[in-house]
């Protein structure tokens, strides 16, 4: 088990290889569909003018993401009425929906770790080599267990996106992941996709 602290140093992220189990500790940000679209349109491609608290939030998240980690997660949060937030259930969501955005977000903010499930595609893999960064796979559905590694909820941005889509700033201790895409161009997802494809072709050629 590799113990990795956030922010993640260059040499640390480069030392991680596909298949390595990792326990992450430090401060990370959740972000999924609305957040990625908002980041790319408002601050990277500039196709949308900043509105409301956009610029303020941008300034606040920049240092958190520098060498930091984005977690694809829409948590169940208790204490919404009192703002004494607590993560009750917090497993990963399917990452491939962020494939159009992720690489650019990683490069823009210097994001070194992306946590999610199901893996990502070639654009993100290329960004992992460039930044450098890694895709870290959490166990989908293991929500109660993962929530226990969230020691504190430090704050939330863009709660108007809704609880699942907001950016939650969380402190984690020994958050369990497996490296499935590394900074050296390897992707476990691409390997499994190809291997299963050849088995599928054999099966399809069989008679009923």
């Amino acid at each position: 088990m590799h113990q990795v602290n956030i922010p993640i140093q260059n040499d640390v992220i480069r030392s991680l290889k596909v298949g390595d189990p990792v326990a992450l500790s430090g401060v990370m940000l959740t972000g999924r569909d609305s957040v990625h679209k908002w980041m790319v349109e408002t601050f990277i491609k500039n196709t949308r003018q900043p509105q409301g608290d956009d610029l303020e939030v941008y300034q606040a998240i920049k240092p958190l993401l520098d060498g930091g980690v984005i977690y694809h997660c829409g948590p169940v949060v208790a204490g919404l009425d009192t703002r004494q937030f607590r993560f009750v259930a917090a497993g990963p969501t399917t990452s491939i929906r962020e494939e159009p955005y992720q690489g650019e977000v990683m490069k823009h903010f210097n994001v070194r770790g992306v946590i999610g499930k199901g893996g990502m595609g070639p654009k993100t893999l290329a960004a992992c080599q460039e930044v450098p960064g890694a895709y870290l796979h959490a166990v989908g559905g293991a929500a109660s267990l993962i929530a226990q590694t969230v020691t504190r909820v430090l704050g939330v941005y863009k709660l108007d996106f809704g609880v699942p889509e907001a950016m939650w700033v969380i402190e984690v201790k020994d958050f369990p992941v497996v490296v499935t895409m590394d900074a050296h161009g390897s992707s476990q997802h691409a390997v499994i996709e190809q291997q299963s494809k050849s088995v599928l072709e054999e099966l399809l050629a069989q008679s009923y």
Binding site: V88, A89, T93, G140, A143, S144, L145, G162, V178
Partner: protein, 290 residues
């Protein structure tokens, strides 16, 4: 008419936090199928720990508590209007208690309603009047990750060489499992419907997921195909979470419904391992749960 709000709230709590015994048993068996020390086995062991923890703490097994899908079988004399209102109240309470995540989003504005209510489709409630005095409510919580990898095929499909017969059905189901990879939170459970129109076919594919895992299909031909599809899906080697491994699919359930001469749909609903379905039975003034 009896107010069942409290009993329905318990049904939701149970569904969200306590995995059914047949599913847990299948997951425990699959741990033994994976190599010691492999990522696949690690994932399954994490899953089992999470199931135990969720049950002990009454916290959601998965943070995506999905679309709440209710099937209500009610005896003559019950008001479906009042039952729907009770279900909606229970859903709001379950959201406040953090058994459910606020999951209902306006598709045009992107606004989350915050309480899991929305239009007439959220939560989804189906009503059917039945004989006798017993009221039964089946609830399934189906998450978005697995819903997104569901698929519908119109046969014949020349790309896959799939014709309008069970041989064709087999091919498109295997294709769907391959396309899903680990994205639907494998190991999954396949609900397959053959026939119907596009809408009824998808509904039927979900309804098959209310069956128990060990329940045999009464149609021997479909029973054989179910078994074969589970085995062949596992040969694909996608494994838990798509890490590679022996367990890709835990079970397959197939049903058929009449179709138009022109149409031959095969609909596949993929259910994640967090297969949350529970039943409440109301008889003699008492609720029981399974």
């Amino acid at each position: 008419m009896q107010d069942l709000t409290e009993q329905i709230l318990e049904l939701i709590r149970l569904a969200a936090t306590d995995l059914p015994p047949d599913v847990e048993a299948a997951l425990r068996r699959s741990v033994e199928q994976e190599q010691p020390g492999s990522a696949a086995r690690g994932a399954l062991e994490t899953i089992i720990k999470n199931v135990e923890l969720s049950r002990a703490n009454s916290t959601p097994i998965c943070q995506d508590t999905g679309t709440p899908i209710f099937y209500v079988y009610y005896p003559e004399g019950w008001s479906t209007r009042k039952l729907r209102a009770q279900i909606e109240t229970a859903v709001v309470q379950a959201t406040q208690k953090a058994y459910l995540r606020p999951n209902s989003v306006d598709s045009l504005s992107g606004k989350n309603t915050g309480n899991n209510l929305g239009d007439s489709h959220f939560p989804t409630v189906h009503f059917e009047e039945v004989e006798g005095d017993t009221l039964t409510i089946d609830l399934m919580l189906k998450g978005g990750g697995c819903e997104n990898v569901g698929a519908q095929y119109s046969l014949p499909n020349s790309q896959l060489g799939a014709g309008r017969d069970l041989a064709g059905v087999r091919k498109v189901v295997l294709d769907a499992v391959h396309k899903a990879q680990g994205k639907g939170c494998a190991p999954g459970i396949l609900g397959v419907a053959i026939g119907g129109d596009r809408g009824s076919s998808y509904y039927a594919s979900k309804e098959t997921l209310f069956r128990q895992l060990e329940e045999n299909n009464p149609n021997p031909e479909l029973a054989a195909l179910e078994e074969r599809l589970t085995g062949e899906s596992n040969q694909l080697g996608i494994g838990p979470m798509g890490f590679g491994g022996a367990t890709t699919v835990l079970s397959t359930k197939i049903t058929s419904l009449n179709r138009l001469p022109a149409s031959f749909f095969v609909s596949i609903s993929y259910m994640c391992w967090a297969y949350r379905r529970r039943r409440m039975t109301w008889a003699d003034g008492k609720a029981s749960y399974a």
